[in-house]
Amino acid sequence: MRVNRHIGAVAIFLVLLLIWQALHTIGGEIVLASPAETALKLYSMLGDGSFWENVAWTSYAFVLGLVIAAVGGVSLGLALGVSRLSSAVAGPILINLYSIPKVTLYPLVLLCFGLGISAKVAFGVMHGMIPMTIFTMNAIRQMKPVYLRSARVLRLTPLQTAWTVVLPAILPEVLSGIRLGFSLTLLGVLIGEMFASSHGLGFLITSAMNVGDTETIMAIAVLLAAFALTSNAILVFFSRQVAP
């Protein structure tokens, strides 16, 4: 099964490549650049200094947004999750907030934060924080009750209980939430750049879209996909080490 999985991954990759090439052949340049052209474009972009500047802009906003979303999201989840009542009250509110098409709030965000980097960070946090909160709240609710009773029998203080029993017990689910929030925060930052910035990868995408430069669009798409896959793999590996 292990071998099959890797063969499967390669097979999927090849199939996607074929579909890509087919779309290019049918639709032409204006639809999608071909895989070959994209590869060339990617190669030249990687050697271009201004490209890396844009990457830096995006990365900075992304890391900032991720830290705020993770710390804020998990803390809020912990605070709401400890009491049955508060999680029952907050749950539907959070889910409803999250279902609002965030794009309708974009004008509000821009009006609040202006057009600079804080708006992009705000977009990122907007997209990424709530799932982390929800996952953390769920994790606490699903924790085995016998753990808390054991902590009481061992006469741990509330702080000791929270730090040595509750946190390790909920860590796997919290990490799942962070993995999901990771992708979403990045998406938020990119979207923010796509229509309210003059820097960053999102901005590059929008510029390319406006002039029909499908090579750049595809090159960036490939780059993002590669980044997402790699970081997800790293996060999964890291979670397995920390929470066996």
Partner: protein, 249 residues
């Protein structure tokens, strides 16, 4: 109503009231946000004047179409992937990383494939929502106790009969959770596409109002989206509770 519902109502009402106060006293300047009461008034006037009815209908139609296509296609794909374990193992990492890529940058692709109009918008919404449906389907199919499938074997049911009569009802609660997500994503996808890339629909109207500094109209429309999504969610939640209650073990 249960205690928690009362508290929730109080929290929401309190927050809205606080925002109203902050807007009226100028702590939040009118150029940034108008008071909620003015938003409601603007919405009322939009609805009564009927100037945007066409756009409203258009958006909701798009959402409905996207939801329908996603649910059916997503379930079928989910079933197929679930049936082939190595395929699933290869695809799952891709699914997990899917949301990092802003898929609506492929909008031009869809314009060329489907022409301008409803289709590219629905296509992007489907693209956004389908992964949620596939993952819920996989999850739901996972949760079906093996004994149910064994029972189907003993009755010598065909693959299709098993899928429709046993697997679908058994996985229904989880599929429904997926459907709630699909509706949410469909709204997001449709309105985001209209916002950024289209010439009609609610999303477009909000963008237009924003670009022309018509805060009143803009917030009125945003309120409309908020209320619609909440109503649809409440409806789906009510159905969900019914489903869950029947299945309580």
């Amino acid at each position: 109503m249960k205690l928690e519902s009362w508290i929730r109502l109080a929290v929401v009402a309190g927050s809205v009231g606080a925002i109203e106060l902050l807007c009226r006293t100028g702590v939040i300047p009118n150029s940034v946000m108008i008071p909620p009461s003015d938003m409601a008034l603007a919405l009322a006037s939009i609805l009564s004047s009927g100037e945007m009815t066409g756009d409203i209908v258009s958006t909701f139609t798009n959402v409905a179409l996207a939801t329908l296509i996603t649910v059916v296609l997503g379930f079928v794909l989910g079933q197929s992937i679930h049936a082939v374990p190595w395929l699933r193992a290869s695809i799952e990492p891709l699914l997990a990383s899917y949301y990092s890529v802003p898929t609506f940058m492929f909008y031009p692709v869809f314009i060329v494939l489907f022409g301008i109009g409803r289709a590219p918008i629905v296509a992007i919404a489907v693209l956004l929502a389908i992964v949620a449906m596939i993952m819920s389907t996989l999850n739901g199919l996972d949760r079906i106790p093996a004994v149910l499938r064994k029972t189907a074997h003993i009755y010598r049911m065909s693959r299709v009969a098993t899928a429709l009569l046993i697997e679908l009802p058994a996985a229904a609660p989880y599929l429904f959770t997926g459907m709630k997500l699909v509706v949410a994503y469909a709204f997001i996808g449709v309105i985001a596409s209209e916002f950024i890339l289209s010439g009609s629909g609610l999303g477009y109207r909000i963008a237009y109002a924003y670009n022309n500094f018509e805060n009143g109209k803009m917030y009125g429309l945003m309120l409309l989206v908020l209320v619609s999504v909440t109503l649809v969610n409440s409806g789906l939640n009510a159905i969900d509770n019914r489903l869950q209650a029947r299945r309580r073990r």
